[in-house]
């Protein structure tokens, strides 16, 4: 096993931490939005970054997808980049859901705003579980309305050793849609993360 790979215990531990984090985030969001938004505890998958473009292609195929990136930095060398992937037909719905129908915000502005709310709320929950805290860089739209995103992923994939795919599903009483959050973590931070997980595991 290379140092970057996760043992079954570590994977299980991380999954549980993200579950709890998403649970916290969904509760916060539901209270904030004051709607029946239901954010299900997501499915989590660790993906080798070399296989990431293929993985994402399989999932999104030829649909046009928007990627919004947001960097996060924690203590003890934990850092990474969270990428939200949206299918464009969902963007309008998400925007309406979050109350963006009433003003002059551009689509780009809505997207970065929504992404930052969703990712930072979830990541704060994860940081809390890890007894850490994150600061964030401003979100950026990586690609929009074009088909180059898998190429873009291929170009950037080499910088990352671990991708944590978090399939987030939003559900309303009569409507549901998916969007994905992808956490890309560089090699050194993966080692740190593994140490943190081991510390938690050692407690049980």
């Amino acid at each position: 096993m290379t140092p970057l790979q996760f043992t079954e215990e570590q994977r299980d531990c991380l999954q549980e931490l993200v579950n709890v984090a998403m649970g916290l985030a969904s509760d916060k969001l539901a209270r904030y939005l004051d709607t029946l938004v239901h954010l299900q505890v997501p499915a989590i998958e660790l993906v080798d970054t070399l296989q990431l473009p293929q993985h994402v292609n399989q999932r999104y195929g030829e649909q046009s997808t928007t990627l919004v990136s947001l960097g996060f930095f924690g203590d003890q060398g934990l850092r990474g980049e969270a990428i939200m992937l949206y299918q464009l037909e969902n963007v309008g719905v998400i925007a309406q859901l979050l109350g963006y129908s009433d003003d002059d915000s551009s689509e780009a502005e809505m997207l970065t705003d929504i992404s930052s709310v969703l990712t930072t709320t979830s990541l704060n929950g994860l940081a809390e579980q890890l007894e850490n805290s994150f600061s964030y860089a401003a979100p950026r739209i990586l690609s929009s309305r074009d088909q180059h995103f898998s190429r873009k992923l291929t170009e950037t994939a080499s910088q990352w050793q671990l991708a944590l795919m978090v399939d987030i599903r939003y559900q309303l009483t009569d409507y549901s849609f998916n969007c994905d959050m992808m956490m890309l973590i560089p090699g050194e931070a993966v080692l740190r993360l593994r140490q943190m997980l081991d510390k938690i595991l050692a407690g049980f």
Binding site: E9, N19, V20, M22, G23, S26, A30, V41, I200, F204
Partner: protein
Amino acid sequence: MALTVLICDDSMLARNQLKKSLPVDFDADIVTAGNGLEALAILRTQDIGLVFLDLTMPELDGVGVLEAVKAEAMDCLVIVVSADIQPEMQKRVMELGALAFVRKPASAEKLAEVMHKYGLI
């Protein structure tokens, strides 16, 4: 006779965490299940007094387990331990007959408080 307790959660960490957080003077045999189907198989064949039940699980989720427990009128108490803490979900599981709802990760204090309240310790 010691009580037999079922801990049902797909995460090993969560199962261990819960085991560790149970009150030290709580005399019980503990069995575990990794999903809802496993839990139902155990519930149908063994005499389980208390279940700690996660909600989000593969195969069959916690809500499915609660529905079966209710439908088959199984004689066991269920405490839901979940990360999905939205009020709507809490309401739903309580309606399905859960005794209590504990937010994940369950602290020893919170577990002791709930168990004390229902006379389990």
